[in-house]
């Protein structure tokens, strides 16, 4: 039976073909990654004028730069002469990019500023017509830099919807309200579709099975506490934040009057620096907000389509092909805290994440197992109905379920379908050429 694109994603299940087929992947690049906001990095990665880093938008090579005026640009890494990339390094500092094929030179705003032997071109040749292609829109929220190739895309603030509240909590862990990503990047990859990573980052059903071995080495008490978060009788929640974003909310009794110590600090820092840190938060935010911030420090937040905020990290999911994905983890440090706190954050992150971590590689293993399993024909669907009958609308108007429920995955695929099949409410989308059969 032939299925149309909009039949591949249904309310409580998705078809295996969306993970496997190059044609669908190409459409995802066009209708999601090239038409929507995508996360490209943190502003501290290009802190100084001239700083740059390379980052793809979908599968297209791009460069995030900071110009001399302090503005951030996202330039496509493609010489406007005959196509060579103009930037070869992953990061660095430069005021100009020279394409070494025939020597054309661009500034870090993307303007063409030099053409060798220019008299070879006729009088109608105008350098202004050969600026680098730029992301049509670049906007920031609390240091997070997003880019869009679609000039008509809605404002970033509207796009982020209810996720802003949780991004604020993450940033407010710093007494200065700012985090930095200047400690390097973990990079790993897997043979499997990019959506596996985005589903998994806010999947509260898997940890007690995939990460059992990690929890067991965390000592009896801490390990049991962690497993309790994801148990069938956990009080934690999963929540649909709108526009495809979602969160695992591990602080359901938020704003408790006690002073919780964030679990990333537990045991890893001296009492003195942990007290000094918490005092500085209270000075800035007061007791209640501080308790709320600390209670939320164990975060799993997904921003559609390619950002996950987990633990201390900003995670970029980079689609490479239907069955290949790269992932970059940007660990963050807090501005304005004792060094010890940031060192503890780095150590806690390393113990679980990265290609050699004690947790994340086990997730990735599941993505490759799924990719293999999905070759089976006849079992066509992946079931995402968990919690469908018990989810409810919370006081904030958002759909809430148990932490082990598939609320986040349903949120993701609702957005996916809206963008892929042309019914997104919050933005204009190019009409489908035909209701094509893929």
């Amino acid at each position: 039976m032939e299925l149309k694109l909009d039949e591949l994603v249904q309310d409580s299940r998705v078809h295996r073909r969306i993970y496997l087929e190059p044609e669908i992947f190409e459409l995802e690049m066009e209708r999601i990654f090239e038409s929507n906001w995508v996360f490209v990095g943190h502003e501290s990665e290009v802190a100084d004028p001239g700083d740059y880093k390379t980052v793809p938008i979908g599968t297209q090579p791009a460069i995030m730069t900071r110009d001399e005026g302090g503005e951030i640009h996202v330039l496509m890494n493609r010489c406007t002469h005959r196509g060579s990339t103009i930037c070869q390094e992953q990061r660095g500092n430069t005021h100009t990019f020279r394409c070494w094929y025939h020597g054309w030179t661009f500034n870090n705003k993307g303007d063409l500023i030099g053409v060798p032997y220019a008299n070879g071109y006729g009088g109608s040749f105008d350098k202004r017509n050969f600026s680098l292609i730029k992301a049509a829109r670049v906007e920031r929220y609390r240091g997070l830099v997003f880019a869009s190739l679609n000039p008509e895309v809605e404002s970033l603030a509207d796009y982020l919807a209810s996720a802003k509240y949780y991004i604020d909590l993450f940033m407010d862990l710093s007494p200065q309200g700012e985090v930095e990503s200047r400690s390097g990047i973990h990079k790993y990859g897997y043979d499997g579709n990019w959506k596996f990573q985005m589903e998994n980052g806010v999947d509260g059903y898997h940890p007690n099975f995939v990460h059992q071995s990690f929890f067991e080495t965390q000592g009896k008490q801490l390990g049991r506490q962690a497993m309790q978060l994801f148990a069938g009788n956990s009080e934690c929640e999963s929540k649909d934040l709108g526009n495809g974003h979602a969160i695992l909310d591990m602080a359901p009794r938020r704003a408790a009057t006690t002073r919780p110590v964030p679990n990333l600090l537990r045991g890893a820092t001296s009492r003195a620096s942990s007290d000094a840190y918490i005092e500085s938060l209270i000075r800035r935010h007061g007791n209640d907000r501080t308790a709320e911030i600390l209670a939320a420090s164990n975060v799993n937040l997904a921003i559609f389509p390619n950002l996950l905020v987990i633990g201390i990290q900003l995670r970029i999911t980079i689609p490479v092909s239907a069955k290949r994905t790269d992932v970059h983890l940007l660990p963050t440090t807090l501005k304005g805290v004792p060094d010890e706190i940031n060192v503890a954050r780095l150590r806690a992150h390393e113990s679980f994440y990265g290609p050699a971590g004690g947790g994340a590689p086990d997730d990735v293993e599941m993505f490759t197992r799924c990719t293999e399993g999905l070759r089976v024909k006849g079992a066509e669907w992946l079931e995402l109905s968990r919690g469908l009958e018990r989810e409810r609308i919370g006081v904030d108007g958002l759909t809430v379920g148990h932490i082990t429920d598939e609320v986040p995955q349903r949120a993701f695929y609702r957005r996916w379908k809206a963008l892929m099949c042309g019914v997104a409410q919050s933005r204009q989308i190019k009409p489908l050429r035909v209701a094509r059969t893929v």
Binding site: H186, Y188, Q212, V327, E350, A356, V364
Partner: protein, 157 residues
């Protein structure tokens, strides 16, 4: 004070390579001092693990946890386990106060799930004389590709 000769250093590295390739991790831990660290930098040569993220920066306790996890039967990324074989060469010994720094080069073949990969890099072993024998007081592994995307790296390099 004993001095570590190159032949002894090589024997140690070969013995360690064999234990790791054969996944005899418990015996490997016995080659380490109890204040030992295992450092595998990310994004380059590694300058300060307190300011930069590493692929691994384990003290002895965390390394023991890592081994416990890897040898449990629910460490999925090592189920089935990687088969590895490493060759070690270019060994240089620099004597220091209570032992030596031993620099070497390695090539490591890994096979898992029908896929073979090759890794290469530099080992830096801090060797110290303790309890009547030479022990590893610190090990630093600098992979050539540590600034690139690396799939599953959960076996011990």
């Amino acid at each position: 004070m004993a001095t570590l000769r190159r032949a002894e250093a090589e024997d140690m590295l070969y013995a360690e390579a064999r234990l790791l390739d054969e996944r005899r991790y418990g015996e490997w831990l016995e080659m380490l001092t109890e204040d030992s660290t295992y450092w595998m930098p990310c994004n380059g040569n590694g300058t300060d693990p307190n300011r930069e993220i590493s692929l691994i920066y384990d003290d002895f306790a965390k390394l023991s946890d890592r081994i416990d996890r890897l040898t449990s039967d629910v460490a999925h990324a090592q189920s089935p386990p990687s088969k590895t074989k490493r060759l070690i060469s270019n060994v240089q010994v620099e004597p220091v106060d209570d032992g030596a720094n031993v620099i070497s080069a390695f090539i490591l073949y890994e096979l898992r799930r029908g896929k073979q990969r090759v890794f290469a890099g530099r080992y830096e072993h801090r060797i110290r004389f303790e309890d009547g024998r030479w022990k590893i007081a610190a090990k630093k592994t600098v992979l050539v590709d540590n600034d690139e995307v690396i799939d599953n790296l959960t076996f011990i390099v």
